[in-house]
Each structure stands twice: as structure tokens, then as C-alpha cells.
Amino acid sequence: MTQDLLYSIAGIVLFGIGLFGVIAAAHIIRKLIAINIMGIGVFMVLLATARHGTITDPLPHAMVLTGIVVAVAGTALCLWLALQIHQLDNTTSKDQPQ
């Protein structure tokens, strides 16, 4: 009981840290990492919810798996976009230095 409460609170703290990071960080990679930390926070709360005494509820695990897939897809998409922007900036600055 206390253990999963501890995990839940830690998860929510992680969520908060991530949220702060997304808002405060200037660099896109930092923002992305912060978002992933938020995600991990949510997953921790979910996993803590799965424990009912000695019995483990499988449903939150399935949800965490789905969540991980979504997080990977989202992160990949953001990284691709960031990379595209970066390359675009590099080529333009090489072609026409300003």
C-alpha cells in the first residue's frame, strides 16, 4: 500500500518535472526529453495502480505498452522534424551566408 503510493507520488513528481522542462527548456531536444520524462511519470503511476496487494492487474500493463509505442512514434516524428529544420538551416546558411 505505502509502496505503490510512493511509486504513484514519484510518478506524479516526474510528470511535474517533465512539464516544467517542456515549458522552461529552450532547446528542442531538451523539450523532447522532458516530454518523455512526463510519459514515464504517467507510466509509473499506471504501474503502481496495477498492484492490488498480491494480485497484479494486467490492464495497466497493456496500457503502458500501448503508451510506450505511442511515445516512441511521437518522439521519432518530432526528432525527424527537428532534423529536417536543422538541415534546412544548414543548407541555407551555407548557400547564402548572412
Partner: protein, 507 residues
């Protein structure tokens, strides 16, 4: 129990777009891909119409259990009048935008990337409207979000990529807030099924924070006023059909979910103060969005800011439906009004973005100040813009007029006259920013300094007409919605009463 009912076609509304997405990846010919997409869009529309015809026999509510697994573990789909009306709006728009996109994305490379993403977006939208549990809504939201971001980035310009990246971050942030809210709900009630949650929710700190997180996530995705910062660049820099779908449908999906949670699932937790708070933000959105639309220099940005303003009207729902003297019959009036508003705005805004897309394509820019004489070389686009504008301003006899009228009625009957002032003011501001464009478009081009115009006079006339028609059709629909309001009102009222009765009956 019957062996087969038409309602069993329900999962097709998600299955078909997914199939279409896969098929459009596999098929390698532009012609085949577009014809098959049109076929899928037509079938999908027919299915939704069949569902609409069949729903009264199913007592206005139908639940489909995928694979027969059932609520806690399996995926359930649920549909009622409200979600069917939104499904119908989606499919009709998808059909029209589909036709437009065939001509718009004539370039093979872009077309190859567009169609699969497009169908994923449609699948996500349909899934969000019929998902029966809170976690599947999350999956649907992410499907919508990821597909929409990729579609915004399709043009590949730096501004579009930056807008898409910002949109992606906001989308992920919103979904994670939503997901944490859902997790808290699961912790409190041990179920994710919306119907089961609706029977069990009581006001408690845990449920309250869940509602708060879910609302923040969805409001962020709906771009309500202080959180709207990501919307104008994303909607303004996407390709025209994508802008249309984003403004007309994508923001509405998250609003619909917000509606579901506030009016139905988590209703016991909602207080008058929070409902009024959303109303105040909505009012601020109307004023600020209209003002920003008036100030902006680019046509597509103007339309995007107008979306911010129009979304503000939708949030009038919460104070009107959830506070006030006699909530039950009036809340129905507010829900009907807002649903009508969603449809009217979807049609008008999509039409407007398509018109702006044509103007952008023919002039090579969309700077409002340089659109003089537009009426001479893009008359159809301007006509579309003006007709859609009539509906957005809320002039009779358009769909926008009926929607606003219903909303004003609900406000007056509820004794909340202050919203009336804001809504009427918003209408005037809309008239100002739309009038500004029309005024410039009709003015004579100054002969020496005509920078943009006259570049492409009908070199490919048939293509121009093809591109103009879908937008014009949508604008006409937005106007016709006002002429023929009664049947859709009956449909709405009947279905929403059922839907709210379903929520109320379990309390």
C-alpha cells in the same frame, strides 16, 4: 436479438479508413490511388448515412463489442445521435476534401505521402467519435495528432516544419495530460469504460484532479484562448485541404470529447465556477481571435485566427448547459446549439480554407494587402470566401445564423445576457475582418504596383474550376444549412435528449 442489423457496420467507420491508408501505401499509381480513395470516401459516407437511418431502431444508442471480448479488456465502440452527426459531418467533409485533394496534390511525390496520412487522420477522427473507453480515446487522439502533424509538415518549407514541430509538442503534451487524468480515473474507479464511469463518478479530490488534467489536455488540443498559440501557424502553413480538415474537424474532435466528459462522464465533479471559467476563456477567445484576425497580414492566418475565435463560441456551451436556473431543458438547447455550430463552422471554415488555397496557388502569396482586383481573376474563390464568410459572421439565412441564433436563445433563456454581448460583438468583429478581405479584393489594382495578380490567368482553366468547385459546394452547404434547419434540428434534439437522458438516468 437479431442476427444482423445495420448497426453492425459501425466498426467499418474505423476499419475502412485504416484499410484505405494501407491500400494507398501499397498502390503505386496516382490515378488508382485517388480513385480508390474516392471509392472509400463514398462507401464511408454511405455507411454513416445507413447508420443514421438505423439508429432510431436501436433506441438511439448502439454498442458494438469488438471480437466479443467486452468492456474491461476488449475494445468497445459506442454510437449515439450526437456522435453519428459528427461522423456524418466528418465523412461528408472527407468526401469533398478528397475530391479537392485529387486535383490539389497533382504532384506525385507529395501525393504518395499525403493519402496514407490523410486516411490515418480520418481513422483517428472516426475512432475518437465512437470510442467507448477513455484509453481508446487516448489512442485515437494520438492517431489524429501524429497524422495531423505529418500532414502539416507536408509542404516541407521551414515555417511549415517549425509549425508542425510546435504542433507535435503541444499535441504530445496534451495527450499526456489527458492520459494522466485517465490513469487517475482508473485508480479511483477501476474501469475505463465511459458508461461505467458515468454511473460511478462522485465528486472527490481524485476525480476532480482527473477532470482537471483531462480538461487541460483536451483544451490544449482544442486551442482555447490562452492555449491557442500553436494553432494559427499550424493551420495557416499546412496545404489547403489539410488546413481545412484541421480547422473543421480535428479541433472539433477534442471539443466533442470535452463535451462528453463534462456533460456526461464526469458531470458530478463539474462545478458552476469551472464551467463559467471555460465560458470566460471562450469569450476571451472570441474577442482576441477576431482582433488578431483583423490585424494579421496573411489570408490563411486570418482564417486560422478566425478559427480561434469561432472555437470560443463552442465554449459558451459550458456555462449555458451547466449553470443557470433550470438546467435540464435549457442544457439541451445549448447542446443542440453548439452541435449545430460545430457543423456550420466545419462547412464554412473548410470552404474558406479551400478558397484561400486556390488564391494562394494562383497568386503565389496570400498577403491580404496585395489581393487587389482578386475578384477579376479568382471570382469563384472569392465567391466561396464571401459565402463562407456570411455563415461565419452569422448573417441570415446561413447555417452560422441559425447556430448563433440558437446559442443566443439559450443564453437569453438562461438569463446570462453577458454572453449575448460577447457573441454579438464577435459577429461584428467577424464582419470586420471578412469585410476587410472582400473590400481589398474588389478594389482596383494599382496599375504600376500590382505585384501578385495577373500571374496565372486561366492557363489551365478546367483545373481551376475543378479546384474551385469543392470549396464552393461546401460554402453552399453552409448557407443551405440555414434554409433547411428544421430536419437537422429535429435530428439533433431527438438524439441529444436521448444522450443526456442516458447520462441522467444513471445518476
Amino acid at each position: 436479438m437479431t442476427h444482423f442489423s445495420i448497426m453492425m457496420l459501425l466498426p467499418m467507420t474505423v476499419g475502412l479508413p485504416l484499410l484505405a491508408a494501407i491500400v494507398s501505401v501499397i498502390i503505386n499509381s496516382h490515378r488508382w490511388r485517388t480513385s480508390i480513395s474516392t471509392m472509400f470516401a463514398t462507401i464511408q459516407t454511405l455507411i454513416v448515412i445507413l447508420l443514421l437511418l438505423a439508429i432510431p431502431d436501436a433506441d438511439g444508442l448502439y454498442r458494438y463489442t469488438l471480437g466479443g471480448w467486452g468492456a474491461p479488456l476488449g475494445i468497445d465502440l459506442v454510437v449515439d445521435g450526437l456522435s453519428l452527426i459528427l461522423l456524418l459531418t466528418t465523412t461528408v467533409l472527407v468526401l469533398v476534401l478528397n475530391l479537392y485533394s485529387i486535383w490539389y496534390f497533382s504532384d506525385v511525390a507529395t501525393s504518395t505521402r499525403f493519402w496514407p496520412l490523410w486516411w490515418l487522420l480520418v481513422a483517428g477522427l472516426n475512432a475518437a467519435f465512437i470510442a467507448a473507453d477513455a484509453f481508446n480515446i487516448y489512442v485515437a487522439l494520438e492517431m489524429i495528432g501524429l497524422a495531423a502533424v505529418a500532414l502539416v509538415a507536408l509542404t516541407g518549407t521551414r515555417t511549415a516544419l517549425v509549425a508542425a514541430l510546435r504542433y507535435a509538442l503541444v499535441g504530445l503534451l496534451g495527450s499526456l495530460c489527458y492520459l494522466l487524468g485517465v490513469v487517475l480515473l482508473y485508480r479511483a474507479y477501476g474501469t475505463l469504460d465511459l458508461a461505467q464511469l458515468a454511473t460511478q463518478t462522485q465528486a472527490s479530490p481524485l476525480t476532480g484532479s482527473a477532470l482537471c488534467l483531462i480538461s487541460v489536455g483536451l483544451v490544449l488540443k482544442t486551442a482555447l484562448f490562452p492555449l491557442h498559440f500553436w494553432l494559427p501557424p499550424a493551420h495557416a502553413n499546412a496545404p489547403a485541404p489539410v488546413s481545412a480538415a484541421l480547422s473543421a474537424l480535428v479541433v472539433k474532435a477534442s471539443f466533442y470529447l470535452l463535451m462528453r466528459f463534462w456533460l456526461d462522464v464526469l458531470n458530478p465533479t463539474v462545478t458552476g465556477i469551472t464551467a463559467n471559467f471555460l465560458g470566460v476563456l471562450g469569450a476571451a477567445a472570441i474577442l482576441w481571435g477576431s482582433f488578431a484576425a483583423f490585424r494579421t497580414q496573411r489570408l490563411k492566418l486570418l482564417i486560422a485566427y478566425s478559427t480561434v475565435a469561432q472555437l470560443g463560441y463552442l465554449f459558451m456551451l459550458f456555462p449555458l448547459a451547466l449553470t443557470g436556473s433550470s438546467p435540464t431543458p435549457l442544457s439541451n438547447a445549448a447542446v443542440t446549439a453548439v452541435t449545430y455550430f460545430i457543423i456550420a463552422h466545419a462547412l464554412a471554415k473548410a470552404a474558406m480554407f479551400l478558397a484561400a488555397g486556390n488564391i494562394l496557388a494562383s497568386c503565389g502569396h496570400d498577403k491580404i494587402d496585395k489581393l487587389q482586383g482578386l475578384v477579376c481573376y479568382q471570382p469563384l474563390a472569392l465567391l466561396t470566401f464571401a459565402l463562407a464568410g456570411v455563415s461565419l459572421i452569422g448573417l441570415p439565412p446561413s447555417g452560422g445564423f441559425i447556430a448563433k441564433w440558437l446559442l443566443l436563445n439559450a443564453a437569453i433563456e438562461n438569463g446570462q445576457w453577458w454572453w449575448v454581448v460577447v457573441m454579438l460583438g464577435g459577429g461584428l468583429l467577424a464582419a470586420a475582418y471578412i469585410g476587410r478581405v472582400i473590400n481589398i479584393a474588389f478594389s482596383q489594382a494599382s496599375t504600376e504596383k500590382s505585384t501578385g495578380p495577373m500571374k496565372t490567368v486561366p492557363e489551365r482553366h478546367s483545373l481551376q474550376v475543378n479546384l474551385a468547385m469543392p470549396g464552393l459546394a461546401l460554402a453552399m452547404l453552409a448557407i443551405l444549412l440555414g434554409f433547411n434547419a428544421q430536419w437537422i434540428l429535429n435530428l439533433l434534439e431527438g438524439s441529444i435528449e436521448l444522450h443526456l437522458a442516458n447520462a441522467g438516468g444513471v445518476q
